[in-house]
């Protein structure tokens, strides 16, 4: 399981972030003592670091620059400042991503998984049961049969697959779709899901996506 180190001095934020990350299946670790962040950073062995730019007594950007001299663990900077300059500085100091508060939690999770994927350099191929998922070709194939998915369907399927066995809310699906410039409305989402279901049924998996009333969908 991926371990994520949270360096955020606001107690509520840090607490809620760790709940969010734990719910999403990561192991979250909070920094509570800000006296010695720099050595903590080096010894933590986390897979990813979420770091606030403004820390008591320290500057996140300087910490990052220092940290980057020895390690290349992915770092996502969190900030409440919305200035382009801060973003540029953070990125040039070696941050992998930069998110301004208040962040959309779903998007934050997406960014985290994107950064983790990118740094682990996993390929674009995934497996669901015995279905071969190719995001490059946009296809699902099983036992020689192949189904083409549209961009929307692929986005939906991948999110469900990333959280297979868990409930994914319609809201999360929407956030991901909109984040990919597919500004669809509620009806269109239902249409997309039923099309995806039909395609899965054609591959011989009619009950793969289950609807949970008022909660969302689960890929079984």
């Amino acid at each position: 399981m991926n371990k994520i180190l949270i360096i955020e001095d606001d107690k509520t934020l840090s607490e809620e972030l760790s709940i969010l990350l734990n719910n999403a299946g990561y192991t979250a670790e909070k920094v509570t003592d800000f006296g010695n962040v720099s050595s903590l950073l080096k010894s933590s062995g986390a897979d990813l670091i979420l770091m606030d730019i403004n820390l008591p007594g320290e500057n996140g950007e300087a910490l990052l620059q220092e940290f980057r001299k020895t390690k290349d663990t992915p770092v996502i900077m969190l900030t409440s400042r919305t200035a382009e300059l801060d973003e540029l500085i953070s990125m040039s100091y070696g941050a992998d991503d930069y998110i301004t508060k208040p962040y959309n939690p779903t998007i934050l999770l997406l960014r985290i998984s994107a950064v983790l994927k990118r740094t682990r350099k996993t390929g674009q191929e995934m497996i669901y049961k015995d279905v071969h998922v190719s995001t490059l070709k946009g296809t699902l194939s099983r036992n020689g049969a192949e189904q083409m998915l549209t961009k929307n369907e692929m986005l939906i399927f991948r999110l469900l697959l990333d959280h297979s066995g868990e409930i994914v809310s319609r809201d999360d699906l929407m956030t991901v779709l909109w984040d990919n410039n597919e500004f669809i409305n509620d009806n269109a989402l239902s249409v997309n899901i039923s099309r995806l279901r039909n395609k899965l049924a054609d591959l011989g998996l009619p009950e793969a996506i289950e609807t949970r009333k008022k909660q969302g969908y689960v890929l079984k």
């Binding site: 809620e16 969010l20 409440s80 200035a83 300059l85 959309n104 939690p105 779903t106 410039n181 500004f183």
Partner: protein, 338 residues
């Protein structure tokens, strides 16, 4: 300054001279001085007086003409005390001294207010960053507690919007450059702005039709997203009550410009209000019907655009549609430097 006005101003001097000349004349007549002598005295005295007046007039005219022409050429007239020519007569020197003193004191006075404004602005910026923390925390709490989420998300979004408004207002009013202009994708800017307002757009069951946004423009990404966010907020606020909201965005590229069009099918803007909608605190006819109008949103949009060097225009058909056009200049310089 002309000679006639100058002489008119010297009326008491002239009067006294006249009276004394008359007294001298009476004396001369009483002493039975020959007429020739009287004429000679008059002939010497009157031109001498006139000559003295003209010399004095010329000294002053040179000084005041220089002052007036400097004043004319200055676009900030209060700097006149810095541009005073040297006077070689007493009143001129006094005037210079007075102007210097008074403008120095005014400069100090202005500096006090400038500092106050700066401190206030810095406080607002800091406040905004602090206010964003609890908003961020609340968003996470919502996410972690799905039962309160539906009720709170919309309100949170509104709080966040109001906070952003304050920030960009503070930024649009100050002269410092806290933006970075670089190439930015219109697709990305619109996408980010739309995602930020997704909940409200979905609540309104809005349809979004984004086409041909595949252009990059020279702008500050954060500012542009705020500007587009304002357009979206306006569309939501002034949606037509009897039909679902449709937002159409597209971009057009010409030789030297990229223009971004944002069109909605809302209630539109009355023609009489159109020329004034970018004015500060102008709410117009629609504003009177909608209690949420502050008249600040589009004003901030306009001032941000002015500072970024973009142009923004609006056209509307009442009861049919409103369209904002945001136009970005293309820089040939940047391409050469690549």
């Amino acid at each position: 300054m002309n000679f006639f006005a100058y002489i008119k101003d010297k009326k008491y001097t002239l009067l006294i001279r006249g009276v004394f000349y008359f007294i001298v004349l009476i004396f001369l007549t009483a002493l039975k001085t020959p007429t020739v002598s009287v004429i000679t005295v008059t002939g010497v005295l009157v031109p001498a007086c006139l000559l003295a007046d003209m010399v004095e007039f010329n000294r002053r005219r040179a000084f005041y003409n220089a002052v007036f022409s400097n004043l004319e050429n200055l676009d900030r007239k209060y700097l006149i005390s810095e541009m005073l020519p040297d006077a070689d007569f007493l009143e001129g020197r006094l005037l210079s001294e007075i102007l210097m003193d008074s403008s120095k004191s005014m400069a100090e006075n202005v500096a006090v207010y400038r500092l106050q404004t700066k401190e206030f602005r810095e406080y607002i910026e800091m406040w905004v960053h602090e206010a964003k923390l609890p908003v961020a925390a609340l968003e996470l709490i919502c996410k972690n507690n799905p039962d309160v989420r539906a009720k709170m998300t919309g309100q949170l979004k509104k709080i966040d919007d109001y906070i952003e408004n304050v920030l960009y207002y503070a930024r649009s009013e100050n002269a410092e450059k806290d933006y970075v202009i670089k190439e930015y994708s219109l697709q990305k800017a619109f996408g980010n702005a739309a995602v930020k307002s997704r909940e409200l757009l979905q609540l309104a069951n809005a349809e979004i039709d984004a086409s041909d946004l595949d252009h990059t423009v020279l702008t500050d990404g954060k500012w542009l997203e705020f500007i587009i966010g304002q357009f979206i907020a306006n569309s939501l606020k002034y949606a037509h009550p009897s039909r679902p909201l449709i937002i159409k965005v597209r971009a057009e590229e010409t030789e030297d410009r990229v223009t971004f069009y944002f069109r909605d099918n809302g209630i539109g803007i009355p023609e009489t209000d159109l020329p004034r909608i970018f004015e500060k605190s102008f709410t117009g006819l629609n504003g009177r019907k909608n209690p949420g109008s502050t008249g600040m949103g589009l004003y901030i949009v306009k001032s941000l655009c002015t500072r970024l060097g973009h142009s923004v225009t609006v056209s509307s058909q009442e009861d049919v549609c409103t369209e904002f056009a945001l136009s970005f200049a293309k820089s040939t310089l940047l391409k050469i430097s690549r």
